[in-house]
Symmetry: C2
Subunit: 335 residues, 2 copies
């Protein structure tokens, strides 16, 4: 990257101010932004950092890097049942950047702002002194006191996940080892699906209202089902029993597992799904499934919460009754 | 730095959870935090990034790095008249860190949390893949619609600054060129004063209530008086006339200028003051000065806003009437 390099104030005016349509952002011309929750609501705040060649590849499309930085945060808001409001962007640029890269990055932000109904509220742009690093603080809102936590799963609640799991974990392996696609006999479509799931998370914002209405506990899956579920189990003081064969897998992931069953560990334990894990009380299941279908978000029941036996954890089981510890139980062993 | 390296969850529990006493932080065990403004208030949000060897020196004390990251943000809140509430911390750690460094860093956060009445609400910790980088989103509150902006300075308003200017800009020069202390004949005390002003900004949170009550416009001085004042002039549509000899200088800075008057440009144009620049209408000056004195914050009248002549800008003048352009007027020329 080379070429034109506008000064910081020119850069804000040209690239970022057009993204800041909320009156409280003050056109990014002030020291700070103002924001009030809607009547009866409180704000929900989350912050994720993303570093080049750790959370994304430096040579990923600029639009996709921007989208990922927003979406991993929007996923956290959806898990709390929150409606997204806006975000602050911290952008630490590497020495090698230019206006064309930043234009594409901001086009990615603009696209997702439209998709998810958010606007830029403020932020900061600096030279990183190293590689690209992004910091997004996303802000949503829920009716006061109603944010869905990880702590509410009770024995008997059903355990649901959205979408399919493991695709992104397989996708990132394909990035590092492109030859895998051949050895796993993946079709071009299956390969593209897995790569895309890693590149562009799909935060489940459409499910937020149903999460708020029906879930007793919820979180987003960023570090893999087994490890994340162990955190919900610990926070709620339950065991979570997962029927392994019920975990929803894409056609591409099923193709991988048909040929090489040992990749199941990657599908259940790998990260970057950005799907939701939810506990739903028995008497809310029908309404939850109906609202999820109406929102267009596929949900699958994968198990249930149980009274803990010893330390909390995640138990895997098969229909024949065989069971084993997936995570937790004092060791936080990940599959 | 080397030694023990706790895993992320252990790290949150050990180092950061003790800093997160607000109930809305959920003990940092959830995906997000909740926060509601006090009745009748709205939130004020600001975000600053700080990168090692750009905004601080890598080998600065860990406590001071933590304090600086908070204080540059608290300075923005004070400039809006906002009472600080809390912050989210993004911490991108270099490969070489250890528990002792992080303990000292968190001790610095804890100290400033006590001093400024804030708590940690959430955040994220990652490996930076390079040097240390910090991202703080600070959150304050003001009565709804009352945040003091940069846009309100009107012709006739007096221009005030807090504290003394230029010390940090001189201090950072001493960091790069330690021999300057001898050539400028600085006493050890003067030298220590300048170095400390760069290392540890003193955000003017104590003045926030007086800013809110009396200022027509305000901003914090992070990039130097001349450049920052030009932004206020442009936002307010006025010229700002600054009586150069009225700009408050420390004993150490006066010592430097007595020997080498050419350093005046550094004092007026250098950054990192983290003092406030305020416009105060004539009929509020007495009350403002009285409230500032009661808050223990020194304020100095350095000039006044005037109807703009041509493009807005900052005019320097001397008591004999001689004047010159400090910044703005179409060129944003900095002294």
């Amino acid at each position: 990257m080379a070429g034109e390099r506008p000064h910081e104030f020119a850069l804000i005016k040209r690239f970022f101010a057009p993204l800041a349509s909320d009156p409280g952002a003050l056109g990014l011309t002030d020291d700070a932004a103002t924001l009030a929750p809607s009547a009866g609501c409180e704000l929900v705040l989350t912050k994720d950092l993303l570093a080049a060649d750790i959370h994304f590849f430096s040579h990923d499309p600029a639009e996709a890097i921007a989208a990922k930085a927003l979406r991993v945060n929007l996923s956290d808001l959806a898990a709390k049942g929150a409606r997204p409001r806006g975000y602050l962007l911290g952008l630490a640029l590497p020495a090698a950047w230019d206006a064309e890269w930043l234009e594409r990055f901001c086009a990615g932000l603009a696209h997702d702002q439209d998709t998810y109904g958010i606007t830029l509220l403020g932020g900061d742009t600096i030279a990183s002194g190293g590689k690209l690093l992004l910091s997004v603080t996303a802000i949503g809102e829920v009716p006061a006191g109603r944010a869905v936590r990880r702590t509410g799963a009770a024995p008997g609640d059903s355990l649901y996940v959205t979408g399919t799991l493991g695709d992104a974990a397989l996708g990132v392996r394909l990035r590092y080892e492109p030859d895998l696609a051949r050895s796993l006999a993946l079709s071009p479509d299956d390969q593209a699906h897995l790569l895309d799931r890693y590149l562009l998370p799909q935060p489940r914002t459409a499910l937020a209202a149903a999460v708020l209405a029906h879930a007793s506990a919820a979180m987003d899956l960023s570090d893999g089902l087994t490890g994340d579920a162990a955190h919900m189990a610990a926070a709620s003081g339950v065991d979570l029993a997962v029927e392994v064969t019920a975990v929803p897998l894409s056609q591409a992931a099923r193709q991988v597992l048909a040929r090489s069953p040992e990749w199941l560990a990657t599908c259940l334990g790998g990260g970057d799904d950005y799907e939701l894990l939810l506990a739903v009380p028995e008497d809310r299941r029908d309404a939850f499934e109906r609202d999820a279908a109406a929102a267009g978000v596929p949900v699958t029941r994968i198990g249930a919460a149980r009274p803990p036996v010893g330390a909390t954890g995640v138990l895997g089981y098969f229909r024949d009754g065989a069971s084993f510890t997936l995570a937790g139980k004092g060791g936080f062993r990940h599959f």
